[in-house]
């Protein structure tokens, strides 16, 4: 195949001096830098790019604007790439989609002949019976009806980024109206972001050669020159950031725009939005209107102007008003091989045309003939039918405003009878519109409305002057009136017969099917849409919504004024999930001792954002060290709050079922906290370090919630109490085991003897020369010390303690050993052994509820549970054998679920399986038997209400 381009012309974007090689379905091709994949293939004479969704009909370039679904191809393994806008790059491997075994010979093209068997809603009508066959149907349908293939094993090298932009005015659309709006707003002092989905600014001017008028800055320039000039003005104007080849895929609350630019998603937070999204030509309805070669007029023009590509050698244009005739003039100027113009109803006089172009008036288009390529248009003029031969059609009907974003922002679109289009009837406060999106296609109006929108946006945020607006408003009104006076009307839509008049190209929905859907009672556009899948394909109704709305009105006899458009929700254009997900960033917190652990183990466990050592050597060895010698665990991840102030004690009384105002300085007390529904939220300890100073610990995962809980109860009160989250300020270890005191004594001068620092005592004293808070508490049931030091000294403290205890066999222990050891003591973990319905009474914490206290958070609810008596209870269980039920396993009685296992572990030290269960109170007596479900079968366990290890608690009081 030869690459025959038009002679070089002003405004083209290709670099004819160099070539890029690529393949399409394995065959080698080449194009020029500046080509899109679609234009390069078109230049090579390749028309068919894919097969359609349902009937597998041949599909080729249609809009050349990134809107329609016709040119979806797979590029280097990425499916559903729009060939018409995707830039051509060296070495690209492009494959057609939705065809097997090949694009030219597609087995499933047979469905096109079977359309009588595939009526509207055929999924619902056919495949639901018999129900058991659905999995089979689904398998087949998935293969037949899919769009593209996703390689689920691929790990593409994506580097998605998220940008956050803040500006005064965001302008959507870089055509003339958008550019002028941006220039005016920026000139008034606004910070502007201008977004356009094309590779360069200028919009439709880029492929126009006729002179532009209506704005002094570009007056009289050819379209391509005017586009370039606008680009220069924008670049020169301070205060404008331009995003090109970027699509606004959604407008969200708070005047937030979602913008996709390659692999980047930009979130633009604007004060005002100017929507200047323009308009696009409506497709024509006739039998075979989807034949390859039948394109929009602007697509033919764009290929010729920007890429020097001929769409055909015998091109017929279809027009219906002055807009269409202006495109004809451009096509002529672009040296498109026009052989005929079919005017279906403008009534306008024929402009001067070069010889050889036949003008046919008052014709109805009946059919596009051909199969893989259009070969002619069968038309009827009066009573006579004739065939107009062609190899390409430029459908240049009046464009429809691209109002999709207006609806997303909550604006309302209505049919405006003076304009003959659906336009914005109501806009949200921060939004204005400019240009062709208003339904008027006129240079002077475009420029005037752009200038007004820019000025209004600036004034709305306190810049610019009202005087300037008044003048712009008058000018725009005059332009609008003048344009409307010359404005044609869209030709009334009739629905001539024929089986293959496609309304929706994404989903292969025909006029006939829509008529049948309405016949079946799906009259409302919203239900018709869901029934037929109309507007629900890749283009999201950009091509078909206007057609469908008008067609439905025609078929139901309803007026357009009463009709509503459907809202296309974000994303307005497809966005890859990778771009939306953004870079995969996961915060990780490491304690001050992390490096010490990393030298000893690589077995970590995630707790919230924290990394904690799970096991160092073995659970058995670590447990033995705690029980028999001395061991050390990093507990820096504990949540820590300091509560200070004259009312700190009474504030803690208010938040807890037990009391802290009477806690003596230098003492520690267990705490568990409930909400007003009596649900246990968190537990830990409170140490009183001074008259007005309390040091609280919380569980690792709840610290943020606890900080918020405490500060919420303080907000708006006059309690003298301050809450500070000091979690990251302190590194901490728990030094545990019968010989832990010996280790500590070697590092501190303060008296840590049993008499001076008994169980539940607290003191502040240097350890290894570092200021420390020493709490004589522990979770594992041995003599132990929780030592908190400023974070910077965490690693140092670890080193000092391990060195000081080396001769005593000091051993680090991890989270797993700690969990086994605490279970041996039946110490519950809030959030594991309790859940969102656990109250203290039924969680074995009745002992800390002080019934004689005044009102406190949760009092009423706890009193109610106490009054009715506990129905469930959290107790221990044991199994003599080495069967460890899963945590969460069901406890069953008489075949019914009555409770669950909340924790279970094998205890190497005790030589049995131990755990906790929440079970009915009548089964919770010490020694009673319960039945626990295993993955296979059940096992009988014994209830144990007292700690398995040291039930009298003598060891922690040593």
């Amino acid at each position: 195949m030869t690459d025959e381009r038009l002679p070089p012309a002003d405004g083209e974007v290709i670099d004819r001096g160099s070539r890029l090689r690529f393949t399409f379905d394995g065959k080698g091709h080449s194009g020029h830098p500046g080509d899109t994949i679609g234009s390069a293939l078109a230049a090579r004479g390749v028309r068919m790019l894919s097969r359609s969704f349902k009937y597998h009909r041949p599909r080729a370039l249609l809009c050349c604007d990134g809107r329609c679904p016709n040119c979806l191809v797979e590029v280097d393994g990425i499916p559903n790439v729009r060939a018409c806008t995707a830039p051509l790059r060296e070495g690209q491997r492009v494959r057609s989609q939705n065809a097997w075994p090949s694009l030219a010979f597609d087995v499933l093209a047979i469905t096109d002949r079977l359309d009588r068997l595939l009526p509207i809603g055929f999924y619902y009508k056919t495949f639901y019976r018999p129900r058991r066959l659905w999995p089979l149907y689904e398998k087949v349908l998935r293969r037949v009806a899919g769009l593209g293939r996703v390689d689920i094993t691929a790990r593409p090298d994506l580097a998605p980024r998220t940008r956050h932009l803040h500006c005064d005015v965001a302008v959507v659309g870089g055509g003339p109206a958008g550019c002028i709006a941006a220039l005016e707003a920026a000139a008034a002092g606004a910070r502007v972001v201008l977004v356009d989905d094309q590779p360069a600014l200028g919009g439709h001017l880029r492929s126009r050669s006729l002179p532009v008028h209506g704005d002094a800055r570009i007056e009289g320039l050819s379209g391509t020159r005017a586009a370039q000039r606008l680009g220069e003005l924008i670049a020169e104007q301070p205060g404008i950031e331009t995003l090109i080849a970027a699509t606004v895929f959604g407008i969200y609350e708070g005047t937030l725009l979602g913008v996709n630019q390659g692999q980047t998603v930009a979130r633009i937070r604007a004060k005002r939005i100017v929507i200047a999204t323009g308009a696009h030509e409506r497709p024509a309805l006739f039998d075979g209107n989807d034949r390859p070669g039948i394109m929009l007029g602007t697509a033919v023009l764009r290929l010729a102007r920007l890429h020097g590509v001929r769409s055909g050698h015998q091109v017929v244009a279809i027009v219906d008003d002055g807009y269409g005739w202006s495109i004809v003039a451009e096509l002529v100027a672009a040296r498109v091989a026009l052989t005929a113009v079919i005017d279906i109803g403008s009534g306008l006089p024929t402009p001067e045309l070069p010889p050889g172009i036949e003008v046919i008036r008052g014709a109805a288009i009946l059919e596009g003939t051909g199969s893989r390529r259009v070969t002619g248009l069968r038309i009827r003029v009066g009573a006579a039918e004739r065939l107009v031969p062609c190899d390409a059609v430029a459908v240049s009907l009046r464009p429809e405003p691209a109002t999709g974003l207006i609806a997303q922002d909550g604006g309302e679109r209505r049919y405006d009878d003076r304009i003959g289009e659906f336009v914005a009837a109501r806009l949200s406060d921060a939004v204005s519109v400019a240009g062709d999106v208003e339904g008027i296609h006129d240079d002077a109006h475009t420029m005037a409305s752009g200038a007004l929108a820019g000025l209004e946006a600036a004034v709305a945020i306190g810049l610019g002057t009202q005087d300037a607006i008044a003048a712009a408003r008058t000018h725009r009104a005059a332009c609008r009136a003048s344009a409307l006076a010359r404005h044609g009307r869209p030709v009334a839509l009739d629905a001539p017969g024929g089986r293959k008049q496609f309304v929706c190209l994404c989903e292969d929905v025909t006029v006939k099917e829509i008529a049948q859907g309405i016949e079946e009672g799906f009259e409302d556009l919203e239900t018709l849409k869901r029934y037929s899948t109309l507007t629900m394909g890749p283009c999201q109704g950009k091509m078909c919504q206007g057609l469908a709305t008008r067609l439905r009105a025609t078929l139901t006899g309803e007026t357009l004024a009463a009709a509503k458009l459907t809202t296309a929700r974000p994303p307005f254009q497809p966005v890859s999930l990778a771009a939306l997900a953004g870079p995969h960033l996961e915060p990780v917190r490491r304690t001050a001792m992390h490096g010490r652990h990393a030298a000893l183990t690589d077995r970590w466990i995630d707790m919230g954002d924290w990394k904690r050592p799970h096991i160092y050597t073995s659970v058995e060895e670590e447990c033995r060290a705690v029980r028999e010698r001395v061991a050390i665990i990093d507990v820096s991840t504990l949540g820590k709050l300091e509560v200070a102030g004259a009312d700190a004690g009474s504030f803690l009384d208010w938040l807890h079922p037990n009391r802290f105002s009477d806690l003596k300085i230098g003492r520690v007390r267990y705490r568990a906290m409930c909400d007003d529904a009596g649900i246990v939220l968190d537990d830990g300890t409170v140490a009183r370090l001074g008259d007005t100073r309390f040091f609280l610990s919380t569980t690792t995962g709840t610290i943020d919630a606890m900080e918020q809980w405490l500060t919420w109860w303080l907000a708006g009160t006059d309690r003298d109490a301050r809450v500070t989250n000091v979690t990251a300020q302190y590194a901490a270890v728990n030094l545990a085991g019968p010989r832990s005191r010996e280790v500590l004594e070697r590092l501190t001068e303060t008296d840590v003897s049993k008499a001076a620092l008994p169980y539940l005592a607290a003191t502040e004293a240097p350890v290894a020369g570092v200021p420390a808070i020493i709490l004589r508490i522990g979770f594992v049931g041995e003599l132990s010390y929780e030592i908190h030091v400023p974070s910077d000294f965490g690693g140092y403290l670890w080193d000092q303690l391990t060195a000081a205890g080396a001769d005593l066999g000091i051993t680090p222990f991890g989270v797993e050993a700690q969990r086994v050891l605490r279970l041996e003591k039946q110490h519950a973990i809030v959030g594991q052994d309790t859940d969102g319905l656990s109250n203290p009474v039924e969680s074995g914490m009745s002992w800390l509820v002080k019934a004689d206290k005044d009102d406190f958070v949760g009092r009423e609810a706890i009193a109610a549970v106490t009054a009715r008596g506990p129905q469930q209870m959290l107790v221990g269980f044991e199994l003599p054998e080495r069967t460890v039920p899963e945590e969460g396993a069901a406890v069953i009685r008489d075949g019914r679920l009555v409770g669950r296992v909340t924790s279970s572990k094998w205890s190497p030290y005790l030589g049995k399986t131990i755990g906790m269960v929440s079970i009915p109170i009548e089964q919770a007596a010490d020694g009673s038997e319960i039945e626990i479900r295993l993955p296979v079968g059940t096992v009988r366990a014994r209830v144990a209400t007292k700690p398995f290890y040291d039930p009298a608690g003598l060891r922690l009081r040593m």
Binding site: Y252, E253, G254, L256, R269, D676, A677, D704, E707, Q708, T711, W712, A715, G716, T717, D718, N725, D854, D855, R859, E860, A861, A864
Partner: protein, 85 residues
């Protein structure tokens, strides 16, 4: 959800910086009936229109404050520190 919440300390910020704290409520007196307590715990007005709500600036000043929010349009019209009532 992408609206802005005006924090009295930090100014208008993206809603994702905040934790929603629910409708403002009046806690019953200790001797209120069980019905009153149950309503306080579980029943919410869920007003469609202007609602008084708690917000916490999680990724900012870490303070609680009270707003007036139009729950239909998601526009926060006023915000300020909680007062005693």
């Amino acid at each position: 959800m992408s609206f802005l919440v005006p924090c009295p300390q930090c100014g208008p910020r993206d809603v994702y910086e905040f934790r929603f704290g629910g409708e403002t409520l009046r806690r019953p007196s200790p001797d209120a009936t069980p019905l009153v307590w149950t309503n306080y715990r579980y029943m919410r007005v869920n007003r469609d229109g202007n609602a008084r709500e708690w917000w916490f600036h999680r990724l900012g000043c870490r303070r609680w404050f009270v707003t007036e929010r139009d729950t239909v349009r998601n526009v926060v019209s006023a915000s300020g520190w909680a007062t005693g009532d």
